[in-house]
Subunit: 356 residues, 2 copies
C-alpha cells in the first residue's frame, strides 16, 4: 500500500513522551499490517518559540500541509504563560487550525467500563454514556476582530463573534453525517435566546434537518446543556456547537467520563486530512518523569487510521489492545486507584504493543 | 420599623405558585418579627406580552424602581418561544437587569446534606461543597451590538463582546468582598489565552488583588473551570466571571449540588437594592398542577432579608425552618426519592410556615 506521510508535532510538557509511545505503536502496525508510514517531526508550541521565535514556524506548517495527517502531542506551559500573544503556544494552536482549514473538532467522550470508578459521577448515571462533541473550530469569537479602545468607562476591550451560513452549514452537515453512523440523535447547542450568531445557527440547523429525516434533532441552550450533561449524560449521542461553547462543553463532557487521560480527538477539514491529538494538555507538572499516560495519544493514532486512512483493521487492533491491557488491570498514575501499583509511560506503551 | 416595599413579579409557568408560598412566608415574618412589608404586583414576561404587548411594561419597571427590592418568580414558556425578539420573555429579563443596573448575579451553590442523594455526583466528591458564583450581568456579549450582514460566505451574524475597566472593577471588587466574608478564596474565570476582553479582565483582577492580601486568588480558564467543578467542587469558594461564562458555569454548579429546586439567587447593583429569584425556570410542563417546589423562592426571600434589608434574624429563621421541614423528610416531587410520598406546593409552604 501507499506510504502515508504523518507530520509529528510533539510539542511541550508530556507531549514528546506520549507521542514517543504512539510512534512505537505506529511501527508495530507497519510490521503487523504491512501499512507504511513516513513520519517527519516539526517544532511547535513552546519549544518552537524557544528555538525559532514563533509557536508555528513556517517549516512546521509546510510539513503539515505536505502530510496526509498530523499527530500532535500537547502544547503550553508556565514558561510561556506571560509572553505576549504572538509568542504564546496557544497562538500556534489557533494558527495551525486556521491555516490547515480544520473547521471541525471531534471529541468522543467514551466511558471506559474498567475506569468507571475514576469518574466523579455515580456509575448508574454514567451507564451507557457514549457521546461525541462536534465543535466548530475556525470561527466565532476565537477568530473575530479583537481590539482595545478608550471609552467612557475607561479602557475597553472588544471581541467579535462572527458566523456565516457557509461555516455553519459545513459543520452541521458533518454532525448530521456522524449522527447517521451512530444512534441518530443530534443535539444542537446554542444561545438563541440571546445571541444573533446563535439565531443564525439555529436557522441553518433547521434548514438542513429535513435532509436527515432519520435523525432526531433537539435544540439545547448552552446553559441547559451544561446541566443536562450532568443530569442525563447517556441521553446524548452527537452534540454540535460553535467554537467557544464547544470548548467548554467538550471539556465538561470529557471530565464526566472519568477517562480524560484516555480520550482522543480529531480536527478535520474538507477531505480526509486531519490533525489528531489527545484531549489532555501538556501537564508540565509531571513532564519528564515518565509517568504520563500515553493511551489518549495511542488512541488518537487509531482515530487517524479510521478517519483519515480508512485502516479500520489496525484501528480496531489498537483499541482492542488498549482494552486488553486495561482489563488486565494495568494503570498509569492518573487512572490508578492504588497509586502505588501505577506503571510508567514506557511500560504502558510496551504492554499495548505486546497486546497488539 | 420602616415599611419595606417589595415589587412582586411572579411571571409565567410555576412562577405564580412558588411566589404565592413565598408571600405567605413574608406575612408570617411580619407577625413574628414585627417587620412590615408592602407588596405590589407587576406583569412581567410572557403574561405581560399577552396582556400588555411587551415583556417589560413601563409600569412594571416603575414599580420595581420605586421598590426596595424585587421578588421574581420565573418567566418564559413554549407559547412565546417563536416570537420575535422584542416579544420574548427573555428580552424582558435582560431589559430589567439593564434598566435596574443589576450588574451582579450571585448564586450560592449549596449542597443540602439531606438531599445529597439527589445529585448525580458521588457523595464523597460533593462533601464540603459550598460555593458562590458571582456573575457579571449587564455587560459582555449579552449586551454588545448584534446584527446581520451579507458576506462572502452568505448571510453573516455578528455579536460583540465588550467590557470596560469600570464594569470589571465593580464586579471583581464585589467578589473579593464576598470572599472576605467566607473562606477567602477567589477563582477568577476567563479565557485570557484567546479573548481580549478576558485579558483586560485578568489585568483588572490582578490590579485589584493587592487590596485584598488575605484572599487567595487563582485564575482559571473557563474550559478548565467546567472540568474542575466536576473534579473538585469543594475546592471552590467564590467564583467570579463575565456574563456568558457565568451563565454556563452557574448552571453547571447548581446542577452538581443536586438541589436545583432549592437554590436562590440575587441580582444586585450599587446600594442595597436587589432582585431575588429562584435559580430554576418556569417549568411550563408542571405549571398549574400544584406540585412545584416553592423552597428556592422562599429561600430567595431569606436572601433578600440578608442582602437588602439586613434582617438576619428573619433570614435565619426561614433557613432553619426549611432545614427542619427537609430533615423531617418532607419532599416535593422534584427532590423526592420516593415520588409516591411527594407533597404539593401549598403543603410544603404550609409546613415551612408552621416550622417558623
Ligand atoms: C489552548 C486553547 C486555545 C484551546 C482552545 O480553547 O481551543 C484548548 O482549550 C482546546 O480546547 O484545544
Ligand atoms: C433566559 C436567559 C436570557 C437568562 C440568561 O442567559 O441570562 C437565563 O439563562 C439566566 O441565567 O438567568
Amino acid at each position: 500500500s501507499e506510504v502515508k506521510k504523518i507530520a509529528v508535532v510533539a510539542g511541550d510538557g508530556i507531549g514528546p513522551e506520549v507521542v514517543g509511545e504512539a510512534l512505537k505503536v505506529l511501527k508495530k502496525v507497519e510490521e503487523l499490517f504491512g501499512y507504511q508510514f513516513e513520519t517527519e517531526h516539526g517544532l511547535f508550541g513552546g519549544i518552537a518559540i524557544d528555538e525559532k521565535g514563533t509557536p508555528l514556524p513556517q517549516e512546521t506548517l509546510d510539513l503539515c500541509k505536505n502530510a496526509d495527517a498530523v499527530l500532535l502531542g500537547a502544547v503550553g506551559g508556565p514558561k510561556w504563560d506571560n509572553n505576549s500573544k504572538e509568542l504564546r503556544p496557544e497562538t500556534g494552536l489557533l494558527g495551525i487550525r486556521k491555516a490547515l482549514g480544520l473547521f471541525s473538532n471531534i471529541r468522543p467522550a467514551t466511558v471506559f467500563d474498567c475506569l468507571k470508578e475514576a469518574s466523579t459521577l455515580k456509575p448508574e448515571v454514567l451507564e451507557g454514556t457514549d457521546l461525541i462533541v462536534v465543535r466548530e473550530l475556525t470561527g466565532g469569537i476565537y477568530f473575530g476582530e479583537k481590539f482595545r479602545r478608550e471609552g467612557a468607562g475607561g479602557e475597553e476591550a472588544v471581541d467579535t463573534c462572527v458566523y456565516n451560513v457557509q461555516e455553519i452549514e459545513r459543520i452541521v452537515r458533518q454532525a448530521f453525517d456522524i449522527a447517521m453512523t451512530r444512534s441518530k440523535r443530534l443535539a444542537s447547542v446554542d444561545k438563541a435566546n440571546v445571541l444573533e450568531t446563535s439565531r443564525l445557527w439555529r436557522e441553518v440547523v433547521n434548514r438542513i434537518a429535513p435532509e436527515y429525516p432519520e435523525v432526531e434533532l433537539e435544540h439545547v441552550l448552552v446553559d441547559n446543556c451544561a446541566m443536562q450533561l450532568l443530569r442525563r449524560p447517556s441521553s446524548f449521542d452527537v452534540i454540535v456547537t460553535e467554537n467557544m461553547f464547544g470548548d467548554i462543553l467538550s471539556d465538561e463532557a470529557a471530565m464526566l467520563t472519568g477517562s480524560i487521560g484516555m480520550l482522543s480527538s480529531a480536527s478535520l477539514g474538507e477531505g480526509s486530512f486531519g490533525l489528531y491529538e489527545p484531549v489532555h494538555g501538556s501537564a508540565p507538572d509531571i513532564a519528564g518523569q515518565g509517568i504520563s499516560n500515553p493511551i489518549a495519544t495511542i488512541l488518537s493514532v487509531a482515530l487517524m487510521f479510521r478517519l483519515t486512512f480508512g485502516y479500520h483493521d489496525a484501528a480496531q487492533a489498537i483499541e482492542d489492545a488498549v482494552k486488553e491491557v486495561l482489563d488486565a488491570g494495568h494503570r498509569t498514575g492518573d487512572i490508578a486507584v492504588d497509586k502505588s501499583k501505577a506503571i510508567g509511560t514506557t511500560a504502558m506503551g510496551d504492554l499495548i504493543i505486546a497486546a497488539l
